[in-house]
Symmetry: C2
Subunit: 536 residues, 2 copies
């Protein structure tokens, strides 16, 4: 039976090998015993150097000559500080070193344990990235995280500007690994969890990989797709249907749809490979579903290298969507010729009817019918999800939201920033996000933007009713947090128009109305109306 | 008369404008008074937002919509901490914000002054880069640094992964700027101090800029030029002579020469534009000379963006040397047709004669004649400069040195790392650098590398005799630091061959000798033999 530490360290060493590391320079000690023994068992090219300063400069010399990242392995304490001069040289001259420091576990930190100094992030800005992993954590996702993240770390050292990276590894005793057990399979360099350029060799391999398959485009959140026309042309050439996140702003431009419920699709309509652009989807089920069914995901975009929290992206390409499309459009690559048509036929059977009442769920469809809609800002956390599910405008609409860190703060202020270009702008928000940025109303007033704020007021945090604490004691006090907001008074405070909208026809009239300045439209709902969803 | 602060802040605002920033979001306060007044005078697009949290989210909204960096301006203290939520969102969603925080001066830090919190680097890894500039420093180079570095900072926010950057600005009272004075000229986006991609528009402008001119290539230190053939082809097409740093390893491959003494060249042989590749030159006079004579420098290489300590590079291109060459080779661009020939004719008159004695200055030429030489490592700090001046091998030689941070530490260990590929390797070092890494000898011994170490022993630090402290009291104790090394004993310690070489013929015999393992060749010199040079 293999222990957790041995298993995870074998994954770690294998991830290094998958990223092309062949040279390891080891300075023996007690704390790095498990790595020393496993590296020896793996028969890597191992250089032993007792003096860590010497070891680090030696690794530097190897890396300078071989142009391949070299890994350093130190025990804990002052040993690690001896690496610093060579790390500083590597950072200045752009040499890729991968610095592994082993450490005492958390319960021995800062309390006078021997050979224990603050090692986490110790090289500060002299390294490009610093990471700590507890390899003795028995959670299986940690193993998968090692497979993915350790490869990303090595790749980070190779991205311009190239330079050193640091991985701190706390080990708890006993330090002897289980020797003689099986090693995990090393992912191949292409279509492992690796990022890279799309050069002519990898382009050839990519074309071979995709040719004739059922290909699906997923366009994630991105404030500025520089390639909407190219994406459309490429999708057509590849016979690939397109799913667009509501925050891609591309639903009104392309033949793109919201994310359907793929579980309801017959298996013959499942994609064989997904090309993913943009950031983390608003839809929380798509990436886990793809992973669960083993459908490979290829990620494109320099901003998104290594940013796949499902730890499933098979390859990430370090180039813009436009450059990726241009390169593939030059090839004769095409996907399964029937797939796009079949996909759209399946979707056509699921078209939703025109709403007959006004509530949080129908709001996206009601706004989508407004042909004059140009700019829309969506608050977290339930609002943006409702819109992601069904909002499908007939004309291009610029849609934005603060969906990087997903906070409920600053929503009105960000929408005001969006509206400073004098284009009439709509903000849809819940009452808690509205309250959190009440001061933003004053900014909207003093900047004279044309902003309509729809507050879907369910008097508290709707998302919590969908989370496990929904049945917890003190729910209203701790999670519901009803604020009993007087929205009319808030509007009065900043001299804004205010309307409580209860009828569908009234809402439609407000949508059609030509207006300037600041408006508040309040739609009251109750939290229990919300449909159950499993979400983050 | 314009005061230092006003002048430097005008340069700062102009640098922002040169990099395309048009939107500023200001939260008024006392400490940021000078920026507030100057921004108003400059008539930038200024949004005033009292609540800093609101201000930062508003800037986020503007940047998300406009895809252009937006600048934030805060007063000191907790005001700056209110920016943090929006900065975190910007970092996660890849939005380019430029965060300006104003601060109390250094003499008011950490001693209980009001509205004073630790602001330098306060946003930690939530920003891509953090910088502090004292704009009240009267040194003229600081103004030039602002012109250059502020533009680099803004550009950094736009490089993938895009994100926020931070500039902390301590101001000392009085805080009122001199209004109504002249503004500095804003550099144009191209051929200002700016970095960028070489897209088809900028390629066209570059070709127009270079066509028919006297063009010179400078190939700086780089462990791995991926484009030596392409560089050679491009230089020929452009009729451009090539200067190669000794640490480019390209002197034996290309028609490249060491850096000549350009001061001795007639003015008609001066280049009109220099294309600079690789890192900071070993030669310390070239970049200042180009700047002094107003000769534009264009820098190429993703690793070297914004890395020009002469603050003179007019444009930096974010792509590899190979990609740059490929793009230019597709054009019909050529330089002044006669220039390359004239340059080489001028150089031909300066060919040095074959050395007749053995010393530090003749060593590079003597080693260059060794046709079997494959790998050479050069120590800091005088050794690498001598070699840079005259080393010109007849065949390709891989030449390396630790020339990022230029330390004298770890030299033997790095040379050992270089030699681990079993190729016979030469290390040339002074006695101080040799002593500093004495432990590296043991590493060379235990790894069984084939390494010849030439120690040019002048019993102390030769460089200091060339610096201003050469005539200072206690010179030998504080700077010369003679170690009276017994190199024979050092060799004995690690079982290495040792030879004290005094005769040219003996040295040549050692060079010709076939050998394995570790050798020490000691050449004794005196420090006063060194020619005077002005260097760092």
């Amino acid at each position: 039976m293999i222990d957790v530490m041995t298993n995870n360290l074998k994954h770690l060493i294998s991830a290094f090998q998958a990223q092309g590391i062949t040279d390891f320079v080891l300075s023996p000690g007690s704390r790095n015993t498990p790595l020393a023994l496993l590296l020896a068992e793996r028969q890597v090219r191992l250089t032993v150097a007792v003096d860590e300063r010497s070891a680090a400069f030696c690794a530097l010399g190897i890396a300078k000559r071989s142009h391949t990242p070299v890994a350093l392995v130190a025990t804990s304490g002052t040993a690690t500080a001896n690496y610093w001069p060579a790390i500083a040289e590597a950072q200045s001259f752009h040499v890729h070193l991968v610095v592994l420091t082993t450490d005492r576990p958390q319960e021995l930190q800062s309390i006078g344990a021997p050979q224990t100094i603050p090692q986490r992030g110790m090289y500060t800005t002299n390294v490009k990235q610093s990471l700590e992993i507890n390899v003795q954590d028995p959670e299986p996702d940690v193993t998968e995280f090692i497979d993915y993240q350790v490869q990303q770390l090595v790749h980070q050292s190779q991205l311009a500007p190239t330079g050193p990276v640091h991985l701190n590894l706390p080990f708890r005793k006993p330090l002897l690994p289980t020797l003689g057990t099986a090693w995990p399979q090393v992912h191949p360099q292409e279509f492992g969890h690796i990022v890279g350029r799309l050069d002519s060799n990898s382009l050839t391999r990519l074309v071979q990989r995709l040719h004739g398959r059922k290909l699906l485009f997923f366009l994630g959140p991105n404030d500025h797709y520089d390639a909407s026309t190219l994406l459309d042309r490429l999708a057509q050439q590849l016979h690939a249907p397109i799913i667009a996140d509501v925050l891609s702003s591309l639903r009104g431009n392309l033949s793109a749809t919201p994310t359907p419920n793929l579980q309801e699709f017959p298996k013959e309509l499942w994609p064989e490979v997904v090309l993913r652009f943009g950031g983390t989807p608003v839809n929380a089920t798509l990436l886990p579903w793809l992973k669960q069914h083993g459908i490979p995901v290829i990620q494109i975009g320099a901003n998104y290298l290594g940013k796949d929290h499902s730890r499933w992206a098979h390859t990430s390409y370090n180039l813009t969507a436009a450059d990726f499309c241009r390169q593939l459009l030059k090839t004769t690559l095409h996907g399964n010729p029937a797939y796009r048509t079949q996909w759209h036929q399946a979707l056509a059977t699921k078209v939703s009817s025109t709403p007959t009442e006004l509530n949080e769920a129908t709001l996206p469809q009601l706004l989508a019918t407004d042909a004059t809609l140009q700019q829309l800002f969506l608050a977290n956390s339930l609002t943006v999800r409702y819109f992601d599910q069904v909002f499908r405008p007939q004309t291009p609409v610029r849609v934005q939201g603060n969906r990087g860190a997903n906070g409920i703060d600053g929503t009105i202020s960000s929408a005001t920033g969006m509206a400073l270009n004098q284009v009439p702008t709509w903000l849809v928000t819940g009452d808690l996000a509205f309250f959190h940025d009440l001061n933003g109303l004053q900014l909207a007033r003093t900047t004279h933007v044309n902003l309509t704020i729809i507050v879907v007021n369910n008097d508290g945090g709707g998302i919590f009713s969908l989370l496990p604490q929904a049945t917890a004691p003190h729910f209203e006090t701790l999670f519901g947090t009803p604020q009993h907001l007087n929205l009319a008074a808030a509007a009065e405070l900043v001299g804004a128009d205010y309307h409580l909208v209860t009828q569908l026809s009234d809402f439609q009239a407000h949508v059609r109305e030509s207006w300037t300045g600041l408006r508040l439209l309040e739609i009251r709902t109750t939290r229990t109306q919300l449909p159950p969803r499993k979400d983050d």
